[in-house]
Symmetry: D2
Subunit: 349 residues, 4 copies
């Protein structure tokens, strides 16, 4: 931790900071610059957080050197985390990217859902996704069918041989949900709902954590840390767009570069959600490809058997025929990426 003192910090102020750090077993070096005194302190930041130091009079800024996430950090665990399911599907670690597809909300139409699930399976996808509890900006929008939706989902997944993903919004639903769901999802709006993060941290199901609209990459990894710290190492990060100043053509701005950044600093798998990331049907394919080519471990896209009658997010859902075409091209891309990796290994080897 580096402490930069204000230009006019007094010797007494500087000494107070140094004494406090020494009393907390920090090792200190300091440097009297022309203008600012800089204190470099090495020690345990679980007892003395940067925020505490910054409250001392005369402190201009406290700069932490080491990334604040630990369990999520590649420093601690250099090898990729790979999440394996009972049917052999794997996420992460250079395995074939997975595809999670399905309607935004599970609706009261089992046959429709089954059509999507069948198309998904046929196209080589591994997961059926869909919402049972919907976080909605307005209380007047459809809020989801709850457990009934989960039953439909499980049934359609079992019938077609898929795994299931659905969003949890409340810790009290977790036990019930775990009966139906293979992967829990934390939505973007709950990325700092710490009570919920702690609750899924105590579950034995993998968790997809969506980046918040205003989450920095560091905060995003710290949210994962909350889950891991509570005992669950199987976190899958999902880039789904951040808020920017321009929402005229796309709902959010997808931070595609965050994928290789996270891969560098963390061992956790990362997937990409171009449906929510853009809010536009015609951008799903290009942005899924953009995510995959920079190293995403999977994609999550919305598919509906009848988007014009979808109860939510129809605009950003693919109809089934278009979905089939898109998956043909995405599967071809995944093969090319795999070939490219082999070339790389051959070059290195």
């Amino acid at each position: 931790m580096i402490i930069i003192m204000e230009r006019n910090a007094s010797d007494i102020q500087i000494q107070k900071v140094i004494d406090f750090l020494k009393n907390n077993d920090f090792e200190i070096r300091f440097n009297q610059g022309q203008v600012h005194t800089v204190i470099d302190a090495i020690g345990d930041k679980t007892t003395v957080t940067p925020g505490r130091i910054s409250a001392f009079d005369g402190v201009k800024e406290v700069k932490v050197i080491r990334e604040p996430f630990r369990l999520a950090s590649r420093d601690r665990k250099p090898d990729d985390t790979v999440i394996e399911f009972s049917n052999g599907v794997k996420i992460g670690g250079g395995n074939k990217p997975v595809s999670m597809v399905g309607p935004c909300s599970i609706e009261d139409d089992y046959e429709g859902l089954l059509k999507v699930a069948s198309a998904a399976k046929e196209a080589g996808c591994e997961f059926l996704r869909g919402g049972a509890f919907k976080p909605r900006t307005s209380p007047y929008d459809f809020q989801g069918y709850g457990e009934k939706a989960l039953k439909f989902m499980r049934k359609a997944a079992d019938e077609t041989g898929l795994l299931t993903v659905s969003e949890v919004m409340d810790a009290s639903d977790l036990d019930m949900m775990c009966d139906y769901i293979d992967v829990l999802q934390i939505g973007a709006r709950n990325v700092q709902n710490f009570k919920l993060l702690h609750a899924v941290g105590k579950c034995n199901k993998p968790v997809i954590l969506k980046r918040g609209l205003a989450s920095t990459i560091r905060e995003f990894l710290l949210a994962a840390e909350h889950i891991m710290y509570n005992g669950n190492p199987n976190v899958i990060l999902c880039e789904r767009g951040i808020r920017s100043f321009d929402s005229a053509f796309t709902r959010n701005v997808m931070d595609i570069a965050s994928i290789p950044v996270i891969k560098k600093y963390s061992h956790l798998p990362v997937i990409v959600d171009p449906s929510h990331g853009t809010g536009q049907r015609y951008l799903i394919e290009p942005m899924a490809k953009a995510g995959l080519i920079v190293g995403a471990d999977g994609i999550m896209i919305e598919v509906h058997h009848d988007p014009e009658n979808a109860l939510s997010d129809g605009k950003q859902s693919l109809p089934i025929p278009m979905f089939k075409d898109v998956m043909t091209r995405i599967n071809r891309l995944n093969e090319n990426i795999h070939y490219e990796k082999n070339c790389l290994s051959a070059n290195i080897g």
Copy 2:
């Protein structure tokens, strides 16, 4: 609701949208421009949301004319909401702005807390604020003392004649908290934690709702709508800074203009929190004043009896002597604002 069709939308696409709207009892007018067809539809948006229309092929954009919040809207309720407490304190409606002060976290030091409460009372403040459950970006930071903190708070408030404010992070804590707390607070990170909004909507305590780091004003008012729709009309909105591209000197950017904007579109009281809004002690006074002069109904500021040893947010807390000086000037400003209002009334009258 206005539906703008794509440039190349076919007649069939246009007709499908019109038929759907007519079948849902919308009244339709449309206008074939040189380039785009525009459909103007009047009807009930609780059954047909804009999102459903935007899923139709050929639709470029759906523009809602009426603001989507209803209970929170000044259209529906032109008079200011005034929240009155048993001791006569009132928030909103042009009453004297209230002051809510106290430490970020309630710590294991009752005497320290009492010092703050006594100074607050003496300076004319109405509320003691403090955290018992702390939302922390990192799992390694201090998470709050829980119920013990609430007991301290209630005791210090009763001893000095103040009301209490504290943040609720989990619906399961609500019953317990209501024993100690006069005003519940929803933190910025939970502004779209809809389960929690619904839970406090069923409480009979007033709720301070903090604006999320990435909440638009419209989303902020819709979050209030979630609380009100569940039965609780006593929502106090709190501007506490939004995330911007520049956090070198202030943690967030305070959107001071949001206060008069909200006043125009909603009847709810609005307060301002310059401690979290800026993260800098020296900015608390000017930014509190900025909020008050544009019409805020109150301020929330962090005060600590010993900021250098605060367990959280010491950097943005006022020490007691500085706090007393600040309140002297803020009280004087409130008198001037009151005088100005009287001049205005006199001019108008």
Copy 3:
């Protein structure tokens, strides 16, 4: 143009707006909703801009239906603009994506520059890029070698068979620059320097226009419109990252989705600059690929023969050996994209 009146707009206010529009030969339809009156006006927005209407009392919002750019719009010109150079190189229209490479600043070392140019030519690149005039945030940073740099560039390009690209910062330099440069570049900071846009609009050289840090896509296309309106149809748009709330790991956020968005709404070619877009060497390759796979017509990347001694932007430059490897993989990707397109055409045909 749709005019939405305030909830409480008076009949007189509404009539005033209607009369004004009618007097300016607009065709009017209007719709009295429950709350808001909506006026739909069809006419010539070059004489009556939305801003003028919004100044009328009682107007809440003016919504323009048609995109405000015209010459840049695909509505007006459905076919892709293709820019062809005397040596046969083409940009846009589905031609093989071009590569523009070179140092951030041209330095006082011709041999170094020639090394970069030779490597570029060998790797199949078409353009040598480099700065002669550098826009620098601080006046204390290196500002470029001016005409001397351009002479070096021209010589190295001629020796290797490349075309040249360099940034123009001042209209008074244009004549001189045109002696050396094949493509002029307008930097992100000058995207709304209208005097400069007008000046390059009167040149007969193609212009690369970089997106501003805070440019919306609409403003970006309107900046292109300024150039085209002044007579120069050969504008190449360049996505190079926008400013976001997170700059801890990447300098900017690359808005990769803007590429297919612009392709949908405009016929102009689009290229991508991952060096400035991310500011990180290790992100150049993945983000160049992300741009290409969503349809970019070219890439611009920084290459330096000795990045550790570069006078600017060494951090985001590729050293020559790494550059060669990257180009091998990028060339392979371009072939795959081409193959994919052929499959698409075959499927459609």
Copy 4:
């Protein structure tokens, strides 16, 4: 300057950085942490910029301790800059805040302009402002009347006893403009048009520099530094809103806190422009007051004798009668602020 090395930086990489710094006469201390090596270097950053160091392999981050602006810095010049005009008007240094008022664009209507100027003088304002050259996002919008507008402005100002302010867009207009104008203005879009900054830096007229839509405070002060470094010490900074994710109710977000921040770090005067900052007539008064109460040295507001027929920005202009009322209250506020300052001095003295 503090250099933080990557976790896995090799000893050779560390040594290369140290050698380079030593060769450039930097004094070095370094600290081998558990994870990262930190190098603290004291020396002249005009020869070795942080960017050069960051290009070395193994460098994670370079942190500059001292603010990069110098001439604009309060470190160098603790006393407020006060700009004095020949008629005795002063800006900065705790003098009575000035008011700069007038239409967005000067139009072809001298009588209208004179009405505004007379009302301004009567209300105690010091400056007539208005645009002769208009930076317009669209080439189809009105671009200003040029020199004719400046003649009108000078005449109306002379007739009423005001000083004049107008925006310069091109260095080649400067000589001509200086015949008519007392204060030059650099618009937000030109805040990093360095050629223009250098040109006004060579003028002997004070310069109002508007903050760019995406300027950080640091970049804003560095833009002022460009002017000062070229010889002109009389820079007035103007906060006029930054771009945020929410533009539904206000065009920009006014960063009111930037005013006391700049006051802390710089000696330059700061004014506030609520017309451009919000784009809404009803927000001009509250946001002008917010700026003044946090310490702004002046306000700039748009006033038009007939806003509904203004050629630009009518929506954000005050009509004359409303302007008079607003100025009455703003003058009263300025007196109160002055009284408050005296109380402060009395308390301290």
